[in-house]
């Protein structure tokens, strides 16, 4: 058997993780784009491509476990492989949430709720929240690639903004529903999308925490330190 250095195997794992992250980022981009443009084709593509992300997740899991079993990594390698397993999970969830958004979008298109779409002009928050979310995903992938703790901390800070936007969207939707009950379904869809985006932001925060743990070896989860 050809002997392969552990570094090469770790690099291979890293490559697949980055590729997974790229795929997830694209599907999120497409789903947000499809929502704003009312593009059903694009939304369907996102749903169809989710199977690629799923198979990628399985592949990464298998690879990481194989490294545990066969190589017994230590120190930074060990932390890296553990991080891959965690980040992999988070990425897959982000992919699922992107699919969720696309499904809501298709629902909106099929039921011709896009008539209400004009009202969204008042909803600058949905625009902002999606923008911040995309930035967060971009930043966390950058942090992952460059092992950049600074960027990872930036992501964690942005999570607060997303939370506040989400709250204000929900409040606005509730008041809109009270005013015109016939558009309830549309606003519930909007709430779902906003919640999905908020969940995505949470997952990117998790990813960033894992990156900080991998680089610095310090666990900042559930502590006040994380907003520093």
């Amino acid at each position: 058997m050809k002997k392969i250095h552990l570094d090469e195997i770790i690099e291979g794992l890293r490559k697949n993780l980055i590729q997974m992250a790229t795929i997830i980022k694209e599907s999120l981009d497409y789903s947000i784009k499809s929502f704003f443009e009312g593009n059903k084709n694009l939304a369907e593509t996102v749903i169809k491509n989710d199977s690629i992300a799923d198979s990628m997740e399985n592949k990464l899991d298998e690879e990481a476990l194989a490294i545990f079993a066969l190589q017994q990594p230590i120190a930074i390698d060990l932390r890296f492989v553990v991080m891959v397993l965690k980040i992999n999970n988070d990425l897959e969830r982000i992919g699922d949430l992107a699919v969720n958004i696309s499904e809501r979008t298709i629902d909106l298109i099929d039921n011709k709720y896009y008539n209400y779409y004009d009202q969204l002009i008042n909803f600058a928050e949905i625009n902002y929240i999606s923008k911040v979310c995309r930035d967060m995903v971009d930043l966390s992938i950058d942090a992952l690639i460059n092992k950049d703790v600074k960027k990872a901390r930036e992501v964690i800070k942005k999570d607060l903004i997303v939370d506040s936007y989400n709250k204000s969207i929900i409040l606005k939707c509730i008041s809109e529903i009270k005013n015109n009950p016939e558009s309830t379904e549309f606003f519930i869809n909007i709430i779902t999308i906003s919640k999905s985006l908020e969940r995505i932001a949470d997952h990117t925060t998790n990813i960033s925490e894992d990156i900080i743990y991998m680089v610095e070896g310090e666990n900042i989860k559930h502590s006040e330190k994380k907003f520093e």
């Binding site: 490559k15 980055i18 590729q19 790229t22 795929i23 980022k25 694209e26 992938i141 690639i145």
Partner: protein
């Protein structure tokens, strides 16, 4: 350098000091011998002067007198009685230098006079001027040291210049020159090195200019280019590619880190395994859409990625497709109307007119076939872009083909044989594979010329990496020089285009087959039937790795 210098200095110093010290001891020995000789002469002279009178001698020396038998008769200190002196060193040799009872170095001289021996002992002391030699020694060594220092300095100064020069060159400063030459051989070396540096500098300048030109050239190319080494690091890329991939590409990073497009990453992944891959990626801009074609070439493990804007070509080809599909569609309706009326006409007329009508009918049918084949080609191009591959069982497709063609085969009295072994599976587009097999088998039946024992046989060979499908017949066969041509569009072996027999076809069948198999990344070739007259079509389909 310093180490060598000091080492050389010390070793030279040691050699010189050692030789000087050796010389010193040699000289010291000689001086001592001379001195002893002189002392003995002195003593002898005094013996002659005193004429052997022991009283006079006793004033200066310690004396011992002994007879011929070696028995002491007189001793000034009354020592040494009872000792035989005849065999002592001084008696036999005439003198000796040894330590006496008080451990003081003493010179003994023995002289024979008449029948007795007189031994005179005198304290021996080195002359003081021998010890002053040590000062000379130190002086010599210091002098030698100075001379050596001068020598090493003159030898090593030019060498240190040369060393500094080589260090500069190593850093990449080809403008560096040696300014101090030294002498003789070293001067020659230094000057040669200077010439060498000049030549290198010139070449370097040329190289830099050329590299600059090349970089400028690549940066301003209208196509995107990137070079990726075998480890996956981007060696070089141009800004156009960054625009095309919509990502900031940094050189000296892994391609999957900087190219943020999963399709291109997948493409490069693939091209590490294969020779070259092609991919069309549509990019939507504000109003229009742009289609980029990303092609990768695997050159000895390194990947060259070339991206080009094929929007115009793609638009043209779409225009062409639309034109063809429009035209064929528009042709079809009037043609079927003509065909319908011709059939009615065919029933009504007789005699010579019937023959004419028949010919009209046959040609209309042929035209119809050409049009449906053209539609098929367009469809294949569409399928290439949009259809996705599924796992198919080849055996089922072949069985379907045989079922659909069995009545036609029966009419020509030809047996269709499928030698089925085990189930063969492959990822592919069912429609295209069905059409490919159908067309080849149909041709085999159509052009068959035997009235008896005719057959078309289908075998499947399931290899590890590929799936080979052999379709063999024992018909007229295809001449070797035509075996490549038959896959060309509208090519017919029999050039007589006005043939009106039932063998008439569009001439597009096999070219469609070739396209269809190409989409599956396989190939189709035509060979002769190994066992008898006839031809054998081999379709090779690679099994998908993933």
């Amino acid at each position: 350098m310093k180490k060598i210098k000091i080492g050389l200095y010390i070793s030279l110093l040691i050699v010189i000091s050692l030789s000087i010290i050796g010389f010193y001891f040699k000289i010291k020995d000689e001086v001592k011998k001379e001195y002893i000789k002189k002392e003995i002469e002195n003593i002898e002279r005094e013996l002659i002067i005193s004429n052997g009178n022991k009283d006079i001698l006793e004033k200066f020396y310690k004396i011992t007198i002994f007879d011929e038998d070696g028995i002491v008769t007189y001793d000034s200190l009354n020592e040494n009685k009872g000792e035989n002196f005849l065999y002592k060193e001084e008696t036999t040799k005439g003198f000796s230098l040894k330590k006496d009872a008080d451990n003081i170095e003493t010179l003994y001289v023995v002289k024979k006079k008449n029948k007795e021996y007189i031994r005179i002992a005198k304290r021996f002391e080195y002359p003081s001027n021998i010890f002053s030699l040590i000062e000379y020694l130190i002086f010599a060594i210091v002098l030698g040291g100075l001379v050596i220092a001068l020598f090493t300095e003159t030898t090593f100064t030019p060498i240190s210049y040369i060393i500094n020069f080589t260090k500069e060159i190593e850093k990449g400063n080809y403008k560096a020159r040696i300014t101090y030459f030294g002498e003789k051989d070293i001067e020659f070396i230094a000057k040669t090195l200077n010439h060498m540096a000049e030549a290198i500098d010139k070449r370097d300048e040329e190289l830099k200019n050329r590299t600059k030109m090349l970089t400028e050239f690549i940066k301003n190319l209208p196509i995107g280019i990137a070079l990726i080494d075998r480890h996956g690091k981007i060696v070089m890329c141009n800004p156009i590619l960054e625009i095309m991939t919509n990502s900031n590409i940094t050189e000296n990073k892994y391609y999957y880190e900087t190219i943020r497009n999963s399709k291109i990453i997948e493409l490069i992944n693939l091209s590490f395994e294969k020779k070259s891959v092609n991919l069309k990626i549509p990019v939507e801009t504000n109003e229009d859409f742009i289609i980029y074609n990303f092609a990768t070439y695997n050159v000895d493990g390194n990947i060259i990625l070339i991206a080009s804007d094929i929007t115009e070509e793609e638009k043209l080809s779409r225009l062409k497709s639309r034109f063809i599909s429009d035209v064929t569609h528009e042709f079809k309706t009037p043609l079927s109307i003509i065909l319908g009326y011709t059939e009615i006409l065919n029933e009504r007329v007789s005699g010579e007119e019937k023959y004419y009508v028949n010919r009209i009918k046959l040609n209309i049918e042929r035209l119809n076939e050409i049009i449906s084949d053209l539609v098929k080609i367009e469809k294949i191009e569409d399928l290439n872009l949009f259809a996705s591959k599924k796992e198919l069982v080849i055996n089922d497709i072949i069985k379907l083909v045989i079922k659909d063609l069995s009545s036609f085969a029966e009419r020509k009295n030809i047996k269709l044989i499928f030698e089925e072994k085990k189930e063969a599976k492959i990822d592919g587009i069912e429609e295209l594979l069905y059409y490919s097999f159908y067309n080849i088998v149909e041709n085999g039946i159509k052009y068959h010329d035997k009235k008896e024992n005719g057959y078309v046989r289908i075998n499947i060979e399931d290899n590890e990496e590929t799936l080979n499908i052999y379709i063999t017949d024992n018909g007229p066969g295809i001449p070797p020089n035509e075996r490549l041509n038959i896959f060309r569009r509208f090519y017919r072996i029999n050039k007589n285009r006005t043939r009106d027999d039932e063998n008439g076809g569009s001439g597009l069948g096999l070219s469609i087959v070739r396209e269809a198999i190409k989409i599956h990344e396989g190939k189709v070739i035509c060979e002769e039937n190994k066992y008898e007259n006839g031809s054998c079509f081999i379709i090779t389909l690679p099994k998908n790795r993933r």
